[in-house]
Structure formats: structure tokens, C-alpha cells
């Protein structure tokens, strides 16, 4: 048995031993950050360094305190909402977690707010990620 899918978006990804990175844009009220984010579909939320949250104009600690579980223990963050753009798809009001401590220094692209709305195909040996809005 086989299943065939088609995708309207192809994105280039960058790989290293830490993971797969793809370009995204995060924006809040006119402030935006374009960045390569590590794709982490094991993570519930997108997670940002505190300094990235501040550059988006957030009052970081005014967000909802949210403790994320990791293999190394709890990680304190604050939950906010942002617009997330991946190629031609812009997801509005995506929940994101901003790290409380500055030691967390990279952008992770977790599942919440976008992954449920797309079909995703990853072909690592071609440095390619394919997307399509679910149901289209």
C-alpha cells in the first residue's frame, strides 16, 4: 500500500549535528525577527531566548508563567502570542514561550499553533522540507 501527497511549498533547510534549521519570521505589533529556527516537533511550543522576546517588544515576565519539562528538569518560561510566518503561510496568534533565563540561547520551532494545520514532509538528504495547508 502506498499514499501519495502533493505539496505546494518547498523550503531549504540547514543541518548540523544539533538539528535542522529553517527560516521563519516572528512578529508582534510591527516588531519582527527573521531567524533560522531549530525544528523540534517533540516540543509543545516554540521557545525563544529572552533577548529575542525583548527585541519583539515583549514585557517578557508579563506573560503567563509556564514551566516546560525537559530531560534536564524544569525550564521556566513565559507564554506569549506572536505571528509566525513559514514561507508563504502566516499563522496568527501562535503561542510561544520566552525563556526566563538568558542561558537558553536559540530558537526552537515546536508544534503549537501551526503543525496541526499543515501536512509536512521532510527529506533530509535533499535539505528539503515540504508543506501544504491541511485540506488544500
Amino acid at each position: 500500500m502506498s499514499w501519495d501527497f502533493s505539496f505546494s511549498i518547498r523550503m531549504e533547510i540547514v543541518q548540523d549535528q544539533f538539528g535542522l534549521r529553517l527560516p521563519i519570521t516572528l512578529s508582534i505589533a510591527g516588531q519582527e525577527i527573521e531567524a533560522n529556527a531549530y525544528l523540534d516537533i517533540g516540543a509543545t511550543y516554540c521557545v525563544l531566548p529572552r533577548e529575542a522576546g525583548e527585541r519583539l517588544g515583549l514585557d517578557v515576565e508579563a506573560g503567563e508563567p509556564t514551566s516546560l519539562r525537559t530531560g534536564g528538569g524544569q525550564m521556566p518560561t513565559f507564554l506569549h502570542y506572536a505571528n509566525l510566518t513559514i514561507d508563504e503561510l502566516s499563522f496568527e496568534d501562535v503561542p510561544i514561550c520566552v525563556a526566563k533565563y538568558q542561558e537558553f540561547d536559540r530558537i526552537l520551532l515546536g508544534r503549537a499553533g501551526w503543525l496541526q494545520k499543515v501536512r509536512l514532509n521532510l527529506v533530509v538528504y535533499e535539505d528539503s522540507l515540504y508543506l501544504n495547508l491541511h485540506g488544500q
Binding site: 544539533f18 527560516p23 509543545t44 530531560g71 507564554l79 508563504e88 503561510l89 499563522f91 526566563k100 515546536g110
Partner: protein, 128 residues
Amino acid sequence: MSSVAFDQLRDRLLKLPPDIIRTLRAALELESKDRQKLLDELPDQQPVQHREVKVRRVKPRDYSKELKWLRENAHLYRGQHLAVSGDDLLAHGPDFGEVFDRAKATGKKFLMDYVAREDEVWGGGLWL
């Protein structure tokens, strides 16, 4: 409380950040009457209710030059944040905020990236 539950609780508490441990210690050192009063006032943790996410299509941005530059050069900047515009490296360094601010001061659009150190291996996801 069984010793198993005690051990699990202790292991979890020892992994908490220092400021939370200080707060916990202060709470545990309260008189029993006040400790119970505090326990009664603590809200049950409610599941987070998220806003509805809407999707719209936008004109995609072309990052092909930045990604080509990163494929060819990122390995030279291990453990650093980079700000790349086309095939120009605008700023780099260990601090996200400093690199972002220096790149933004150029007035150009740019893509931020972090290049993992060679000894870094990602161990897994983050969840609630």
C-alpha cells in the same frame, strides 16, 4: 508519604531554578497553620486555553542567498549567533541581543542564525 514518592519529589525539587527553591524553602518553613492556609489558597493549575490560530497566505521571502552563505560558512562561527543579509555577514558573536542590535543598526533586512558548537547534541523536546 512513601519513600518512593519522597525520592521522586526530592529529585524534581532539586532540579528547580534557585529562585523557586528559595520561595519553596520559605513556604516549607512557615508555621503549619500558615502553611495550610497557603496550600488552601494555591489555585489548581488549569490547562492553558489558547487563542484560535488563523492562517493566511503572504508573499514568501527569499532566503536562498543567506542559506547558501550559511551552508558554506557557518562552520567557521561555532557557538555564535550570526546576522546574515544576502551573502554579507552583518554581525556575529555569542550574545543574541548584541548581534541583533548591531545588525539592525545597519538598516538592512537580515536572518539570524545560531551555529551549534561541535560538542553540542540536542537531547530532545520540551513539553508541558
